[in-house]
């Protein structure tokens, strides 16, 4: 199953989005929430993002979703550093993307479909 890493400036927010993906998917996917800078304030801690990727990796790929600024840049840099095509940063909003990706991943979809589901979650609300 594809794993998800949810990166927010706030750990509380990331945890709650993770909870939501568990509640809203028939079969929940492995999800790791990450948030906060190394001192615990709003921001990003790259070491924790790295650990989270490892924690949800079941061998079928990992999708990262990030909220803003440093979350996105940190995820982008980590994905580049890892140079592993099975670790992907989705260009998607955090909440909508996470729920869509979790539903797909839980249903056993492959990495590309999970990423596509997250990225399509951006449009069409109205």
């Amino acid at each position: 199953m594809v794993g998800l890493v949810l990166i927010s400036h706030s750990l509380t927010l990331a945890r709650e989005v993770a909870e939501l993906t568990r509640a809203l998917a028939p079969v929940p996917a492995p999800v790791a929430p990450v948030g906060g800078n190394p001192d615990g304030g709003y921001g990003t801690d790259p070491d924790r993002v790295r650990e989270a990727v490892r924690a949800v990796d079941r061998g079928d790929g990992v999708v990262l979703l990030a909220d803003l600024g440093s979350s996105v840049l940190t995820a982008k840099l980590l994905v580049e550093e890892l140079g592993d095509p099975s670790v992907v940063l989705a260009d998607a909003p955090l909440v909508e993307g996470a729920v869509a990706a979790s539903v797909m991943a839980g249903a056993g979809a492959p990495l590309a479909e999970v990423v596509a589901a997250a990225e399509q979650a951006r449009a069409g609300k109205l």
Binding site: N37, P38, D39, G41, Y42, G43, T44, D45, P46, D47, L68, G69, S70, L73, T74, K76, L77
Partner: protein, 212 residues
């Protein structure tokens, strides 16, 4: 310029960033989230600690370690940006034990490319790119004119400082300040300001080096 020179630069950056922490944070409070000074202070304190434990043998390895430390410790957008800038600079310097001005100018250009690639900012978007880019250009020109290092780095620092001041009239198109749209005009960008401080530190270390 050897490993000790670059270690002195990083040490001076740490000192200045700590000293100017509240100023940088105040600039970020106006158009961002009031953490730029705290973020960089945490990052450069991390560099100080890393170098106290172990000083790498070459300038390239030193800057690579400093970059990785910034990526890990800063916590804000400036972390991955400055971090990959220093890492790419380190990579560009290779394993040479001493670095000439021309190599330094090329490495700084690599740093600029790293920031632009990761953050996607262009000149005029009101970011650190607006200080780094003119500094690179000034240094390249000084190298072409065959000017001595302390003079050349002084021009680069002046260009960065002017670049930072020029962000006042710009509207932010990248980073948190862009949420303010036209309301970001009239404020100096914190990241461009810290870039100017970092390049002023490089000049100061080069001047002290030339005197000793």
């Amino acid at each position: 310029m050897d490993t000790r020179f670059f270690a002195a630069w990083l040490e001076e950056c740490a000192r200045v960033v700590h000293e100017q922490r509240d100023y940088l944070t105040r600039l970020d409070a106006a158009i961002g989230d009031a953490d730029h000074g705290t973020n960089l202070d945490r990052g450069f304190t991390g560099i100080r600690q890393a170098l106290a434990e172990h000083t790498p043998p070459t300038p390239g390895a030193l800057l690579a370690l400093a970059g990785t430390t910034l990526v890990r410790k800063v916590g804000g957008a400036s972390g991955p940006l400055y971090g990959s800038a220093l890492r790419q600079m380190g990579k560009a310097l290779g394993d040479a034990e001493t670095i000439g001005l021309a190599e330094l100018a090329d490495a700084l250009e690599t740093a600029l490319q790293a920031v632009r690639r990761l953050g996607g900012a262009e000149v005029g978007d009101k970011t650190m790119v607006d200080a780094l880019s003119p500094a690179c250009a000034a240094l390249r020109l000084a190298v072409a004119e065959g000017i001595k290092p302390q003079e050349a780095l002084s021009r680069a620092a002046d260009a960065a400082d002017q670049g930072a001041k020029d962000t006042i009239s710009m509207q932010a198109r990248k980073g948190r300040a862009s949420y303010l749209g036209p309301r970001s005009i009239g404020h100096q960008d914190p990241g461009a300001t810290s870039t100017a401080l970092i390049l002023a530190a490089l000049r100061d270390v080069a001047v002290a080096w030339a005197e000793s």
